[in-house]
């Protein structure tokens, strides 16, 4: 691989173009760069000349001046963090004034992520697949999962209110990648009750790539990839910051987040950011959800230097949280579960408290990231990333005879990753990227918990290479493609019960893994390897001013995760015993996405159907009962089937006037297990959001009313089982209904924002929000706590955003 890398770099050296230097080099180009939509000046945009290190940056009034230009024809590139870069060929034979207009709200990652929504990038209607700064600010005291649900096609799989896992088109966990600051987040994404360890406040843009086409970051995410990018560095002297304060009535808590960024004219920059959150028990319209408090404290720090053509950066972030799990959801056996299901209210309701006791989760995620990039020979830019992430996770259960301070699950996951990326463009229209990625992951499961390991100790290595390219001959046509190959190796050490090892037939199929038997347990050393191939291609084009369409196809292959392979234990909130399977093979998914959108005067509509067929779709399903000292338990085991998932995301936007706007959003997903001819579990039901927004003239304030409608999921597999209870001297067989989804519901939110000062450059925003105004009592199919309690009731929230 390394030899190959050398060969390529040497080869590239000879491909070097001939620079266009010529005699007179004292011409000057100047002008202003404005926002295409509202004409406001864009600050911090970079105008550079391709193939040289000559560049300029716009001032606050959008003005730039580029000096020392030679006569002849040059390629100008205009870039800004929230805009799509544009390129322009100009011939220079005199001093000139050139003004440009940039399309705002598109982030820099657009150029490296080949996304299925490229077209939206072109036209700026990127609302459905992107969260902008303002939306991120609104969700400042909540989680990434919550914020993303505002996008069509995204739901969240929840455990209570604080633990929210993003779900794209019915897929979550290992099927959805999260890329923050250019690196893939490596936490314990396999557990459905683990929320991503990410502080939304550290980022300025969140982009959703539904087609998983960001092959640079992995080819194993058939659901899609969520890309979070930090604020762009300003080149030049600057110092600014922002503080956001939130206070909410429900949970009696709030958050504080503050960031400060400083940069100097010689390219150095330093950023710091801090977030603290604290909430007590949340409440539904009728009762307190005991033990649902949370606290979180996050810090991040960045230091670097960038002089456009080369630079480096050091990044550190730390995320720490503690989250209570609804006390009533901790149960001992299926009779307890039945009792909980039959009760309309949680079986344990205590007075409100800020205290968090067992059951609870503690997570700590630390990330160190080093970047170095350099441009050589005109259009070649290479970048080297080194990244080290440590994720520790502790889960505390209600335990008998063991100190409450000893967790029942205590995992430490360390991941190192090296990425080398080379990017070049042949001409204006063609752009390529090639890179190699190496990852080593080490999981350690602390044996001092006194509980059988849920996830075993393992070493996992991944070695991958990708090659992606795009062709963009004009602003109305775009073609992109990419391929990626990964090798994944597992080296696992796990104790199985001897009888378990034998009854599952592993002693016959995998005798080579056996290491030694110690009493009732056997130590095995599974060595598994997978080779995954991924490919994608997509087109997008505009037909006239009004109609845009894009199509993309993604092939992704995913090897089973640690949970799917090795899970081994009791799930306390569902009273199920879950087993992984060593027999699993890689999952192969083909996904087609089509996007059609049309703008006609004040109307804008988009329609995005998608279709995916997955072979070896890994799911967990019932596999009989197991007798224990707590009675019989349903056993669930990971297995594979073939699946078909399709659906539509649609949106419709109508501007009654420049003040009044109506926005409708809807998603439908349908998923079927083809082998067992059953619907797939935990698929979001039909849901729709309607928003009416009124902005005052001159943008002094705006009012937004949002209605959410979630239908009942009518397609679900029947996973019910029965339990014998003794009542008045006789045995009664009772059905434990864990399958029937809750009823449809509707709830209403209100946002009122006041912009103080200059409306276009407001430094201070006051925002008042009410969630669930009508005190709707409802349960959500995608919340694992739905068996025990209602969703939270009305919440008044006050937000102050101050920028300086």
């Amino acid at each position: 691989m390394i030899k190959h890398f050398l060969k390529i770099t040497v080869l590239l050296f000879f491909l070097k173009g001939i620079p266009l230097w010529s005699q007179d080099c004292d011409f000057v180009i100047s002008g202003t760069i404005n926002d295409l939509h509202d004409g406001t000046p864009i600050y911090g945009a970079i105008i550079s000349i391709e193939g040289s290190d000559n560049f300029a940056q716009t001032q606050e009034n959008g003005f730039y001046i580029l000096e020392g230009l030679c006569s002849g024809s040059v390629n100008l590139k205009i870039e800004h963090t929230e805009c799509n870069p544009i390129k322009k060929k100009v011939s220079i034979d005199e001093n000139a004034i050139l003004d440009f207009e940039l399309e705002h709200h598109i982030n820099e990652l657009e150029e490296i992520i080949i996304s299925d929504n490229q077209l939206k990038g072109l036209n700026g209607n990127a609302k459905e697949s992107r969260l902008n700064r303002d939306q991120i600010v609104r969700f400042s005291s909540q989680s990434l999962g919550d914020a993303l649900t505002t996008l069509a096609g995204v739901s969240s799989l929840k455990t209570g209110n604080a633990i929210a896992k993003p779900m794209i088109h019915g897929m979550y966990g290992s099927r959805v990648g999260i890329v923050a600051n250019g690196v893939r987040l490596r936490d314990q994404e396999w557990g459905s009750d683990h929320a991503p360890n990410i502080d939304l406040n550290a980022f300025q843009n969140v982009q959703l790539v539904k087609g998983a086409a960001a092959l640079k970051y992995g080819g194993d995410t058939p659901g899609g990839i969520i890309v979070l990018s930090p604020p762009k560095i300003i080149l030049g002297d600057s110092l600014f910051g922002q503080t956001i304060i939130n206070a909410a009535t429900n949970g009696g808590g709030g958050s504080l987040t503050s960031k400060l960024m400083k940069s100097t004219s010689n390219g150095y920059y330093i950023n710091g950011q801090l977030t603290a959150k604290r909430f007590g028990d949340l409440t539904t319209p009728e009762y307190v959800l005991s033990n649902t408090g949370m606290k979180e404290i996050n810090v991040s720090f960045k230091l670097g230097r960038s002089i456009v053509i080369k630079g480096w950066e050091l990044n550190y972030s730390r995320f720490q949280n503690e989250t209570g799990i609804l006390r009533a959801a901790h149960i001992g056996n299926i009779q307890d579960l039945l009792r909980a299901l039959e009760s309309n209210i949680p079986l344990r309701i205590e007075p409100f408290t800020y205290g968090i006791s067992a059951p609870k989760q503690q997570g700590l995620h630390q990330n160190i990231h080093l970047i170095y990039f350099n441009q050589f020979k005109d259009n070649f830019k290479w970048q080297l990333d080194y990244n080290y992430q440590v994720n520790t996770r502790k889960e505390f259960d209600v335990r008998r005879g063991v100190s409450v301070d000893i967790p029942a699950i205590d995992l430490k996951l360390q991941t190192q990753n090296v990425l080398a990326n080379l990017k070049w463009n042949k001409t204006f229209s063609w752009e390529f990227e090639w890179g190699i990625n190496a990852m080593l992951q080490d999981n350690f499961s602390n044996p001092n918990t006194g509980v059988k390991r849920l996830i075993p100790d393992y070493l996992k290595t991944e070695l991958g290479s990708y090659f992606v390219g795009s062709y963009k001959p004009s602003n109305s046509f775009h073609w992109d493609w990419g391929i990626r190959l990964d090798q994944v190796d597992w080296d696992v050490q796990k104790y199985y019960g001897v009888s378990d090892w034998k009854t599952r037939g592993y002693d016959k199929v995998f005798p080579q893994f056996e290491v030694k038997e110690t009493g009732t347990q056997i130590l095995v050393n599974p060595k598994l390897n997978f080779i995954n191939f991924a490919a994608q291609t997509g087109f997008s084009f505009e037909i006239g001013e009004q109609f845009e369409t894009s199509f993309s196809y993604v092939l992704s292959q995913r090897s089973p995760n640690a949970s799917e392979l090795f899970s081994d234990g009791l799930h306390h909130s569902l009273a199920t015993i879950e087993y992984g399977s060593l027999m699993l093979e890689k999952e192969i998914s083909s996904k087609f996405l089509l996007s059609l959108s049309r703008t006609q005067g004040k109307l804008k509509g988009s329609f995005e159907p998608y279709f995916s067929r997955i072979n070896n779709y890994i799911f967990i399903g019932p596999k009989g009962l197991q007798q224990t000292i707590r009675g019989a338990f349903p056993v669930w085991q990971y297995d594979a089937t073939n699946a078909l998932i399709w659906g539509v995301d649609a949106s419709f936007d109508f501007n009654f006037s420049s003040q009044l706007n109506l926005d409708l959003n809807a998603s439908y997903t349908r998923a079927q297990d083809l082998k067992n001819e059953l619907p797939i579990i935990n698929i979001p039901p039909f849901n729709s959001t309607q928003t009416i927004k009124y902005s005052s003239p001159k943008n002094r304030y705006d009012v937004e009313v949002v209605n959410h409608f979630v239908a009942r999921q009518k397609r679900f597999p029947d996973l019910n089982f029965s339990v014998n209870t003794l009542s008045e001297g006789s045995i009664i067989e009772q059905l434990v209904d864990v399958s029937t989804p809750p009823k449809a519901y509707q709830n209403l939110d209100l946002f009122f924002s006041v912009y103080l000062g200059n409306p276009n450059k407001s430094k201070t925003i006051l925002r008042f929000m009410i969630h669930n105004i009508t005190q709707t009592k409802y349960r959500d199919y995608l919340n694992r706590m739905r068996f025990y309690a209602n969703e939270i009731g009305r919440n008044f929230q006050f937000q102050l955003v101050y920028s300086y």
Binding site: I2, F5, L6, T9, V10, F13, I331, G332, N333, Q335, D336, R339, L347, R348, F376, W382, L384, Y386, V398, R399, R400, G401, V402, Q416, V418, A420, A438, L440, D442, S445, P447, T449, G450, V451, K452, R453, P456, D457, Y458, L459, T461, D491, Q493, K494, Y495, V515, T518, T520, Q521, L523, T628, I629, R630, G631, T725, L726, S727, G729, S730, I731
Partner: protein
């Protein structure tokens, strides 16, 4: 040119260095010493003029043993919870239950047989003088057969109830043992 090549060599070396960070190996994991396990439930029955009857329910056994009682008789019954996962170190969980008596409750339910039970004089009491039902006195009635379900409840929501559901809390033990009451 030479300078450029040197630069690339340096970069490649850096890359090799980073790759070499990846070489490491893993120690054999320690075996987990499982705590809070209960593997065995033992019921002992004593009545005047008879030798003690002991019935065991074990997680590793088929558990077909039947309790045989006489009709219209009172029995002193003791329930014992054991952790026998390590034969060299058998733990009596009763000690722990008595230590954390406020957080535990033993309870019996019957089907097919009519038996009433009360705490015995030797039964430990919690801080509110509620019985734990480790030591009970069972009164049998007519001849019949059925099962007894023995529960150990952790953190019951109330300590005064006559049904399993009434106690709330989490079930730590729920075992069914066949029982037969013979005509005296």
């Amino acid at each position: 040119m030479v300078k450029t090549i040197i630069l690339y060599t340096k970069q490649t070396l850096l890359f090799i260095f980073l790759i070499s960070i990846f070489s490491c190996s893993k120690d054999t994991p320690e075996i987990v010493n499982e705590e809070e396990l209960i593997t065995t439930v033992e019921l002992s029955f004593n009545t005047q003029g008879e030798s003690e009857q002991k019935i065991r329910w074990e997680t590793t056994a088929p558990n077909t043993a039947e309790i045989i009682l006489k009709s219209n008789t009172e029995y002193e019954v003791q329930i014992t919870f054991l952790d026998e996962s390590d034969p060299g170190d058998i733990e009596n969980i009763n000690e722990e239950i008595i230590e954390e008596v406020d957080e535990h409750q033993v309870f019996f339910e019957f089907s097919g047989v009519t038996i009433s039970y009360v705490q015995s004089d030797s039964d430990p009491l919690d801080s509110n003088q509620n019985p734990v039902f480790i030591n009970t006195v069972w009164s049998t009635s007519v001849a019949s057969s059925g099962i007894v379900r023995a529960f150990l409840i952790h953190e019951p929501t109330t300590k005064n109830s006559t049904t399993r559901n009434g106690f709330g809390g989490e079930t730590d033990v729920s075992v069914d043992i066949p029982i037969r009451i013979l005509e005296e």
